[in-house]
């Protein structure tokens, strides 16, 4: 039997297949539907200091091959998360990664400290694609200096494994990745959704209540895969791939590009069995190709570690 055990910092997982933040709630919502037994970890909905109501509906619109969402980080807030949701999630018997977002480095530190001291939290994902931080001209996710401050604050606040979740909406992801690595991130999640929109021609209004939303799903996959390839070739901390992966073939592409683990998100909506199918599929692939452990899989499409160039 091939060994799918995956280690990201101090987070040890049964398989490299994680569940992406915001698509599984806090976990229990999908109890009895998703086979948590084979998945590597749940990443919770992103938690903020205070409860958030989220954006006005409509919050979803399907696009060709993808999905736009503008949830607006609706979440129960740190207090209820710690008091209720975390305990419930921990009962599922799968490592829980707490996703958090602050509006300042201090808040990120506060959140990391609070969730980091809980035994139920196996690792922390710092979500910097946070809509609260309104800096339209130089968003946090493309500002290495801001990222350095955020990761440093979280690093000082906890010794738990920290992954920084990057945004694909930047022309210079390498500087951001470098900054995060230097500031002490244990891993990078690459990447979140891309800003996008649709218009409802009948109503002559944006289809989403919030005007724009984040593009996820298969449509996004080539973009985030290219970023994983780029980042994994540049940093020495592990990269966790996210973006549109729906089946074993897609997961293999992320791993072959250099990801140490992958997250399934939007694909859960159409097929909650996707994580279990991918785990099975990876086992079969490794057996058929005589690969014993994840190390032999990761980066197998990389001839040498090189920087790729974009072209049209």
């Amino acid at each position: 039997m091939p060994d799918l055990t995956t280690r990201i910092g101090n987070l040890t997982m049964r398989s490299p297949v994680m569940l992406a933040s915001g698509t599984v709630g806090y976990g229990p919502e999908y109890e009895g539907i998703i086979d948590f037994g084979v998945t590597g970890a749940i990443v919770t909905k992103t938690i903020t200091l205070k409860l958030r109501e989220g954006n006005a509906p409509p919050r979803l619109v399907e696009t060709h091959g993808g999905l736009l969402n503008a949830i607006g980080l609706e979440n129960v807030g740190l207090e209820r998360f710690l008091a209720e949701k975390l305990r419930e999630a921990a009962r599922l018997g799968v490592p829980v990664v707490a996703s958090v977002a602050g509006t300042s480095p201090e808040e990120f530190g506060q959140l990391a400290a609070a969730v980091g001291e809980r035994d139920e939290v196996a690792a922390i994902e710092l979500n910097i694609s946070c809509p609260n931080v309104e800096r339209p001209r130089n968003p946090v996710w493309s500002d290495p200096a801001a990222v350095t401050e955020i990761v440093s604050a979280a690093r000082a606040a906890t010794s738990k494994t920290l992954s920084l979740k990057l945004s694909p909406n930047t022309s210079d992801i390498l500087s951001v990745a470098e900054a995060a690595e230097r500031a002490g991130a244990d891993a990078l999640t690459v990447a979140n959704t891309l800003p996008g929109m649709r218009i409802d021609i009948k109503r002559r209004r944006p289809a989403l209540g919030n005007t724009t939303g984040g593009l996820s799903g298969a449509a996004l996959m080539p973009v985030n895969l290219a970023l994983v390839w780029k980042v994994a070739g540049h940093v020495s901390i592990p990269v966790i791939g996210s973006g549109g992966l729906a089946d074993t073939g897609d997961a293999l592409e992320f791993l072959a590009a250099g990801a140490a683990a992958v997250q399934v998100g939007t694909a859960l909506f159409a097929n909650p069995a996707a994580p279990a199918e991918i785990v099975k599929g990876l086992e079969t692939y490794m057996e058929e190709n005589n690969l014993a452990s994840m190390d032999e899989l990761i980066g197998m499409a990389r001839e040498e570690r090189r920087i790729c160039t974009e072209t049209t």
Binding site: G22, T23, V24, G25, E29, Y30, I33, K45, E53, G54, A56, P57, P58, R59, L60, V61, E62, T63, G65, G66, L67, N69, I71, E74, R203, R205, G217, A218, T266, L268, F269, A270, N271, P272
Partner: protein, 255 residues
């Protein structure tokens, strides 16, 4: 899966459920994997239980997903998640219930009509549509043997029944003696808002089955919310049935 055409734009599908599929209650829905090429499933109300282990869906052709479902060959295996969501609150014994449906909203009340009749409850039904072609009252459980005229229809263009919206009929029904003690409604947002307003004025409790775009269908993604007096609620897990006095009606109808 079998299907039958019931109007120029609607099909009635009957599914053989998996053995472990629980018996659905009125108000509940299923999230259906209609096509491999679509990112999301499509939610449909369970619109009847023709026999144990089976359930009906009544589906209006609205876009890619509903067409993909209708194009599946009879006998296809279709991925169905559910039953999902909450249930209608059943009336007190003896109370008259008024069911108000607009267009495909008839689908959301069909199982309720069946349940109420089986439970021996007295019901009256108002069904509206833009034109007579859109009326779906003929798929509701048979009215035969009823003492009172329990079904009325309305069309916006007057091509059948009352000339006007179904809310015209509703005002009349609530004003009559032996008036209904409960209103259940399903249909376009503007209709639901109107029905809710009329019921509130008449002091009659009213529940509505709401529609919203859905992704997960289980309360996880927070994509399907509706504004209520106690904040946003998920239509899939807190609903789809809501007491209309809980809803922020101004936000129900989109500009």
């Amino acid at each position: 899966m079998t299907k039958a055409s019931v109007s120029p734009t609607c099909y009635l599908f009957t599914f053989e459920a998996d053995p472990e599929f629980p018996t659905p209650r009125s108000g509940q829905f299923v999230n259906v994997a209609v096509s491999d090429d679509l990112t999301l499933r499509r939610p449909f109300s369970i619109a009847g239980i023709p026999a144990p282990g089976r359930f009906d869906l009544l589906v209006e052709m609205r876009g890619k997903g509903t067409r993909a479902l209708a194009e599946k060959p009879i006998g296809s295996a279709v991925g169905v998640m559910g039953p999902l969501g909450n249930e209608f609150t059943l009336p007190e014994p003896g109370d008259v219930s008024l069911l108000v449906a607009g267009g495909i909203g008839t689908a959301g009340l069909r199982l309720l009509a069946q349940e109420l009749r089986l439970g021996g409850h007295r019901i009256r039904t108002l069904v509206g549509a833009r034109t007579s072609e859109g009326l779906l009252h003929h798929v509701l459980p048979s009215q035969a043997g009823d003492e009172e005229p329990s079904l009325e229809v309305a069309t916006d263009d007057g091509s059948e029944g009352f000339h006007g919206t179904v809310t015209g009929l509703l005002k009349r029904a609530l004003g009559e003696p032996d008036a209904p003690a409960r209103v259940y409604c399903c249909g376009p947002p503007a209709m639901i808002a109107a029905v809710a307003g009329i019921a509130a004025k008449a002091g009659v409790p009213c529940e509505a089955l709401l529609e919203e775009m859905m992704a997960c269908g289980v309360g996880a993604c927070r994509g399907c919310v509706v504004a209520t007096r106690s904040g946003y609620k998920a239509v899939c897990s807190d609903g789809p049935v809501f007491d209309t006095s809980e809803l922020v009606l101004e936000e129900l109808v989109r500009a």
